[in-house]
């Protein structure tokens, strides 16, 4: 059988404000196959997919459809049958399912909309994928999984040839994921090519035929999925042996530094949370999206209203009603979304380092020279790559931005660091360095860390103990030998592994 290549790209390069995020990537996709595009956060998966679906113009390189060179934009790509379902779904919550499916291509009867035919068509598509969603419900009433399905139906209604799904499983339960996989298989059988982006290896192993592995913007592997083990995939993704990625764990003292007792937030996102952290420890928080991890951290540093509960610092009860209070007590927070909450992109890098501790540089007027000296210190210590302290933070790569945010927190003199997804959107090398920085801080400054992470290898690789959360509650505290992917997933989902994934 001759394999039919329907989409290929050659020598794709992409620069964002002079930072190269894709380096000479070649890919090709054949009809009726399921491809996995894997790589760590920040490896360039989403950027590549946005280029293939016309949302971004590559800095260099060509795209071919059925052998013909094309210039893509989102509309053209849609005409060719290339559809991207982004991680943040593109549905209008206030419209009904069928209205979303036909958004922009409404069926009309004369001047008026032909509702009944659109509803009927939507119902047919649903049956085709053996889904049961009423076309007339409002999208706002659907679960995340159902919304995902509506996106797929929308794609099918546009006679999709290549469906690209960007991390479709990130907010789905195991059960919903296996349903999604059924849908992917039935699409494959009807000749649709599916490109599945993920960094969850188990899912990739189960559902894909072929794999493209990206690391730091480069394609490092391409081949049949069944030829690689999960561990091999992981090592290709991070570019080194797993054991070398994480520095050997340190042993914390027995001294309790932070205790949280019966903490419940006003909005109910966190219920009755209890945990304690020891001096010099790295305590992990694992859970699915929406499990309340970030909300718990926000409550601790005073940006989310607390209904009841206590926080004890060195055994003494403290009151934290704002990040200012938290900072005074030596507790600082690295937010999960660097661009919207961590770094100030339009401010010069040295200003980002000092913005949280300006009182150290001024009585009345700011001592700019000392600010710059301070930045230079961190630049050396954390290996922050900049051209000058005066360049805007937006011109740095993700990893360097994150190191700047960390330098901002460290410079406050805090002892307790709450890191929420500290390595999201950061390249492999910088990731490794961030772990090293954490260890260095534990050794040199007596620092203590609470780390929220969705990346299993990371949380397993660096934490002394791991708290698992599910729908606002802490469901387990796992330590030592008990730390394993299987155990974490079990407590995060409440399902035994293997309950799902059955094809």
């Amino acid at each position: 059988m001759v394999d039919e290549v329907i989409l290929s790209a050659k020598d794709i390069c992409m620069d964002f404000s002079s930072v190269r995020v894709l380096h000479n990537v070649d890919v090709q996709f054949e009809k009726g196959m399921v491809y996995g595009v894997v790589g760590e956060n920040g490896a360039g998966k989403s950027t590549l997919m946005r280029i293939l679906s016309g949302f971004l113009q590559p800095t260099r390189g060509d795209i071919f459809i059925e052998g013909h060179k094309v210039q893509l934009n989102p509309l053209k790509a849609k005409e060719y049958g290339i559809i991207l379902i982004p991680q943040e779904l593109n549905l209008v919550d206030s419209l009904r399912v069928y209205e979303n499916v036909f958004l922009g291509s409404e069926v009309r009867k004369g001047f008026f909309l032909n509702r009944s035919s659109m509803i009927e068509a939507t119902r047919r598509y649903m049956q085709q994928l053996s889904l049961r969603i009423d076309p007339q419900t409002y999208v706002s009433e659907l679960s995340p999984a159902q919304k995902q399905m509506v996106e797929i139906v929308k794609a099918i209604s546009k006679s999709v040839k290549i469906l690209i799904m960007d991390e479709p499983t990130s907010s789905l339960s195991q059960e919903e994921i296996s349903k999604l996989f059924d849908v992917i298989r039935s699409m494959k059988n009807s000749g649709i090519t599916v490109v599945f982006i993920s960094h969850k290896l188990k899912e990739v192993k189960v559902v894909t035929d072929s794999l493209i592995i990206l690391r730091d913007g480069r394609k490092v592997h391409e081949g049949k999925t069944k030829e690689l083990s999960e561990r091999q995939i992981a090592e290709l993704m991070i570019g080194r042996k797993i054991d070398e990625m994480y520095p050997p764990k340190l042993s914390p003292s027995n001294e309790l530094i932070l205790q949280v007792k019966n903490l419940t937030t006003k909005d109910g996102t966190v219920k009755n949370a209890n945990f304690e952290v020891r001096k010099g420890e790295i305590l992990g928080f694992y859970g699915l999206v929406g499990s309340g991890r970030t909300e718990l951290m926000e409550a601790i540093i005073g940006v989310r209203k607390v209904d009841s509960g206590q926080i004890l610092l060195n055994g003494k009860q403290v009151k934290i009603e704002s990040p200012q209070d938290a900072k005074k007590l030596g507790i600082v927070y690295l937010p999960e979304d660097r661009k919207t909450a961590g770094i100030i992109l339009s401010l010069q890098v040295f200003m980002n380092t000092t913005i949280m501790s300006l009182e150290k540089f001024s009585k009345v007027l700011l001592g700019r020279r000392r600010e710059i000296e301070t930045f230079r210190n961190y630049e050396k210590k954390f290996d922050i790559k900049t051209r000058t302290p005066f360049q805007l933070a937006k011109t740095l790569s993700g990893g360097n931005q994150q190191k700047v945010v960390i330098s901002k927190l460290v410079n406050t003199g805090a002892k307790i660091f709450i890191f929420d997804e500290p390595t999201r959107g950061v390249d492999v090398n910088a990731k490794h360095q961030i772990y090293e920085i954490m260890h260095q801080m534990i050794k040199e400054y007596d620092a203590t860390f609470v780390v929220v992470s969705s990346e299993l290898p990371e949380i397993i690789g660096i934490c002394n103990r791991i708290m698992v959360m599910r729908s606002g509650e802490i469901t387990a505290c796992i330590s030592g030998e008990q730390i394993s992917e299987k155990n974490l997933i079990y407590h995060a989902t409440g399902l035994e592994e293997g309950d799902s994934y059955k094809g």
């Binding site: 704002s322 909450a341 961590g342 100030i344 992109l345 401010l347 700011l366 000058t388 005066f390």
Partner: protein, 320 residues
């Protein structure tokens, strides 16, 4: 490595001083069109006339960098000016009376700025709405008190302020320059100023960085109130009067225009006192030129409008 660094700083400086080049080019151009333009007396006049809006524009720069807007400044000039004049009239023609009246004017300016700030931050009302409301309320109040007419004073001591010359330069011009220097230091060299930028550029990141976001925002409106009070005292003393219907009309637009021409971003996070200072002067030169070239009075607004749009367009093009 050193070479790259130098190139970088040079590039930064160039974009900062480009506005000065534009002003100089504009002045040379005006001088060619009308030789009377470059006479020292005319230049001094431009500076003088620009001072009133210029001072307000400096205040609005703080507000805009922090991500807000202040539309109430024009009406506030009339209200504060009326207060100053009526107080002087009440207290009599003495130095103490003038001092007390000015103090009172500043007091009200600070109070109104603080109120606007609280409503926008704690009341979570968009700044556009609070200050649009303020614009209507202040104007209506002053119209009501003055019955639509004009407040006048015969106090010599008070009128002397606005007409005073120091070292051959008009006082409003000196105040404008001094005010710009102080504001520059406040915005560029203090913790408060840095926080203003941070809040406007990324409110969430500022919040997580333990910055008192609401407080910083509120204080920018206080800065704006102080600027309006300064301008109101200078203007009402120079005129010895305040017209309830026309004083300060259109000041908000001119002030915002000056800031925007000077590179202040309407969405916050960007801008400088330096830019606004020269932006105001550019606007002043254009105004003067339009008069000298006998452009129909009614068309002058159009020219100004076009220039503001062009300034923003230019900045966007330069970004790309």
């Amino acid at each position: 490595m050193i070479l790259i660094k130098d190139k970088w700083t040079f590039k930064l400086n160039l974009s900062k001083y480009i506005i000065v080049f534009i002003l100089v080019a504009l002045m040379i151009f005006s001088g060619i069109l009308s030789p009377a333009f470059l006479k020292p007396r005319n230049i001094l006049n431009i500076f003088w006339q620009t001072s009133y809006v210029g001072i307000i524009a400096i205040g609005i720069t703080f507000v805009m960098i922090a991500g807000g807007i202040d539309l109430s400044v024009g009406s506030m000039v009339a209200l504060l000016g009326a207060l100053a004049i009526q107080s002087v009239n009440k207290f009599g023609d003495s130095a103490l009376s003038v001092f007390l009246s000015i103090l009172l004017t500043y007091g009200l300016g600070i109070l109104l700025g603080f109120g606007t700030g609280l409503l926008t931050t704690k009341g979570k009302i968009p700044a556009f709405v609070t200050t649009l409301g303020g614009m209507a309320i202040y104007r209506s109040l002053v119209l009501n008190f003055a019955n639509g007419g004009v407040y006048m004073t015969i106090s010599r001591k008070y009128s002397d302020i606005g007409m005073k010359f120091v070292l051959g330069l008009p006082l409003p011009m000196i105040v404008f320059i001094a005010y710009a220097i102080v504001a520059y230091i406040l915005l560029d060299k203090t913790k408060f100023g840095r926080h203003v930028y941070a809040v406007g550029a990324n409110e969430t990141a500022a919040l997580y960085s333990a910055i008192k976001v609401d407080m910083v925002r509120t204080l920018t409106y206080v800065v704006s109130g102080v600027s309006v009070a300064t301008s109101a005292v200078l203007l009402s003393s120079m005129m010895s009067s305040v017209s309830s219907s026309s004083t300060g009309n259109g000041f908000e637009l001119d002030a915002i225009a000056a800031a925007v021409i000077g590179g202040t971003s309407l969405s916050g996070g960007k801008g400088s006192v330096f830019g606004t200072f020269f932006g105001a002067l550019i606007l002043g030169v254009i105004n003067n030129m339009l008069v000298m070239l006998n452009v129909a009075v009614y068309l002058q607004g159009m020219v100004k409008g076009l220039i503001i749009i062009a300034a923003v367009l230019l900045q966007n093009l330069r970004k790309e």
